[in-house]
Symmetry: C2
Subunit: 199 residues, 2 copies
């Protein structure tokens, strides 16, 4: 097989490691990059290296931050006794943008995934228990995703946090706002009927 | 809107410049990169910078290469009087892997695209004419894609090369091998019937 010059093959090999990038996308990205001015390539390479140099984990919420503790954990106006546990930093941003939560967060950076070798010991459980105790948290919202992994992670957290005497809750499941019943999956419809409220 | 730390936002902004990468994919890629070990990030950044440092255009075929002229143009076993014009380096690789062509190539690095501001002056026409004359090329295969842009580029090349007295040809259009007539588009069927051969 005729192949590309080594430098280009090397770049494609690196790009193929990214999630959702197969050989064709890697080639397309590599050819795109080849056509860019040097300055743009340097900016991209610098941005990649910067995340390792500038980002740390917040010692409280475990979110990515440039200053520890992160601005959100330092914010005195937030409810210090309310904690929301999420899987990933992107989940935190989504909840934060909803404006519906004024406590602090705890980012697990994962869920239980036995098939991928992620067990309870990888989820910073001890750190979470320590925070719940030390910060005298009154309620923990277990906001892992309503998926198999997220649900089993929530159950694991309940097992671990229940002995601490803290109130535990989980966001409601149901129809997303704006949804069309015709196109909703049966499990969601089931959950939305089970959780129906009086009008 | 709550956003990510600056270093992460900067990386996402860089990733969004890649073709086919919107805000969500950029975020997914950035979070993937954040979880990688430093050594992997350094390899990726180095591979990106390397393409500018190590790749040049072959002075004959204009393909990307680390040595000028490229190994393919230096190969004495290839037919020196047969030239195949393609749009992009990836097209050259596809033809080369088919094993059906033993001449040399010329890479246009584009097609006529008036709406994107790509005119005849951007297609290295003078260089192509110079090569056709100096290398005493006998036949030029105009292997731009059978698309609107590729066809009009082929017509432009014909206009420019015809006066040089060189034989010009274009790859056949028709049904791809293994195709199912039921699912072929009418234009392809039309072309395959027009170009039918006696059995």
């Amino acid at each position: 097989m005729k192949s590309y010059p080594d430098a280009l093959e090397a770049l494609m090999a690196q790009l193929r490691k990214l999630p959702g990038v197969g050989p064709k996308t890697a080639a397309r990205l590599a050819f795109h990059l080849v056509r860019q001015p040097s300055a743009d390539l340097e900016s991209l390479a610098a941005a990649i290296l910067d995340i390792r140099e500038r980002l740390v984990l917040c010692s409280f919420c475990q979110n990515l931050t440039e200053i520890d503790p992160c601005p959100l954990c330092r914010d005195e106006s937030r409810d210090r006794h309310l904690l929301c546990v999420v899987e990933y930093p992107a989940d935190l941003v989504a909840i934060e943008n909803s404006g519906a939560f004024r406590g602090r967060y705890f980012v697990l950076h994962g869920t239980l995934a036995p098939l991928q070798g992620v067990g309870p010991e990888d989820l910073r459980l001890e750190k979470l228990k320590e925070i719940v105790t030390d910060a005298r948290i009154e309620e923990v919202i277990l906001a892992t995703n309503p998926t198999v992994e997220g649900n089993s992670t929530a159950l694991l957290l309940r097992e671990n946090l229940h002995p601490l005497g803290v109130r535990l809750s989980r966001p409601a499941c149901g129809l997303p706002v704006g949804a069309d019943l015709e196109y909703m999956d049966p499990v969601t419809i089931c959950r939305s009927l089970d959780g129906r409220g009086t009008l």
